[in-house]
Symmetry: C2
DNA sequence: ATGATACGTGACAAATCGTAACGTATATGG
DNA sequence: CCATATACGTTACGATTTGTCACGTATCAT
């Protein structure tokens, strides 16, 4: 019986030489940079190691595969601060979306969504996890905004919040997926106009 | 100066042995089958050639790369019949979407969208072409439905059809992208409920 | 000091892509 | 019929990348 392979032991302090602390961040940063530059396909472990200034086996000691490395590099920068309650549906949507608009346009986001879609199409075990941790979480943020609006009376009490959430989430993600060359205006500008439209549409649902 | 490389000459009849006619379809069919089964990553030219019953160079004589082969295999099955004018916005949306719902759930559609997203993220030259030929065309179908509805008076004359089209297209594509395991109901059923919701929301816009 | 582990270097097998060299088969044109 | 040109299959090849391994050295706990 060999020893446990590829154990992640960054934080435990057993016997032996401890891992260089800066190396973990160097590897993840190099991965993110290269991912944004050349994409998942053309990202090679050799390049990651070279840019991080480490040897290739050092990368493999931390992550068993290229997929795991990239997944970890993307997950490490995901932070989800809950959107503030601005008091109105329209304000909540704007507060949720507009500050994130620049991030939505970042190459890394597109790369992540592409990986997610590939995993999804391949029915990989990662697909649902990625979806739940990234996309579904944002979708639920919209859902909470709609529930608050419903509690305020901005939305009809019999409105189907689940379906409406799909409308909002779908509209937003569609803007992110759209190729840059196929956009007629800036992502921020279009998102702002779409928010206004959605507010208007959602508000009208209460007149029943 | 060598001869022109990789010329596609399926239909021209020059001197020399003509290409086996069945081979073209065999290769594209094998590609589609394998693409749906294992995805783009794990699809290999060797497997394609084996399943098509031809040698590997025969595949390369027709398509210069794996990407070109897969692109051709997917493009070959795209046909866009215009949706009929049913006389109502809701009917048009149903007629446009429900017959295609089973196709939307097919693995090949997911694979194609995943490839499109990867190309997009890598800023590949194919991204905009794929988007225009596949996604944008469907989006425009929604746009035409909305324009017809506007002409009928079902939609406010000052409604922003371009933005509304994004709402409809985004809502639909979001359902397609959602992982199977993250779905709470069948794709057809949810699409049907979303269509009803969208009809209701869009119709209310005229009360201005 | 000893043992365990991390690190870098270098080498390695396996898979895959795309190309090339052959021999054979099948068309056109004389 | 014969020459030419091309398609096809088989086999082999180089290049790239992935992931592993062996080795020597460095660094920690005990």
């Amino acid at each position: 019986m060999g020893r446990a392979p590829q154990a992640l032991r960054s934080s435990q302090s057993g016997p032996g030489r401890p891992r260089e602390r800066h190396v973990d961040d160097d590897i993840l940063t190099a991965t993110r940079e290269l991912l944004a530059e050349v994409g998942f396909e053309r990202l090679t472990m050799t390049d990651v190691a070279a840019r991080a200034g480490v040897g290739r086996p050092t990368v493999y000691r931390r992550y068993p595969s290229k997929e795991a490395l990239v997944a970890a590099s993307v997950e490490a920068l995901r932070r989800d601060e809950p959107a503030p309650d601005t008091g109105t549906l329209c304000g909540d949507l704007r507060a949720e979306l507009l500050p994130r608009a620049p991030a939505f346009g970042h190459p890394l986001v597109l790369q992540f969504l592409a990986m997610l879609l590939v995993s999804n199409a391949e029915r990989s075990e990662f697909a649902e996890v990625y979806w739940r941790d990234a996309v579904a979480q944002r979708r639920d943020a919209f859902g909470e905004i709609l529930v608050r609006a419903q509690a305020r009376g901005e939305l009809a009490v019999d409105a189907d919040v689940d379906l409406l959430t799909d409308v909002v989430a779908g509209t937003v993600i569609y803007q992110i997926l759209r190729p840059v060359g196929a956009r007629t205006e800036s992502l921020e500008g279009r998102l702002e106009r779409l928010i206004a439209l959605l507010c208007s549409m959602l508000g009208r649902l209460e007149r029943d």
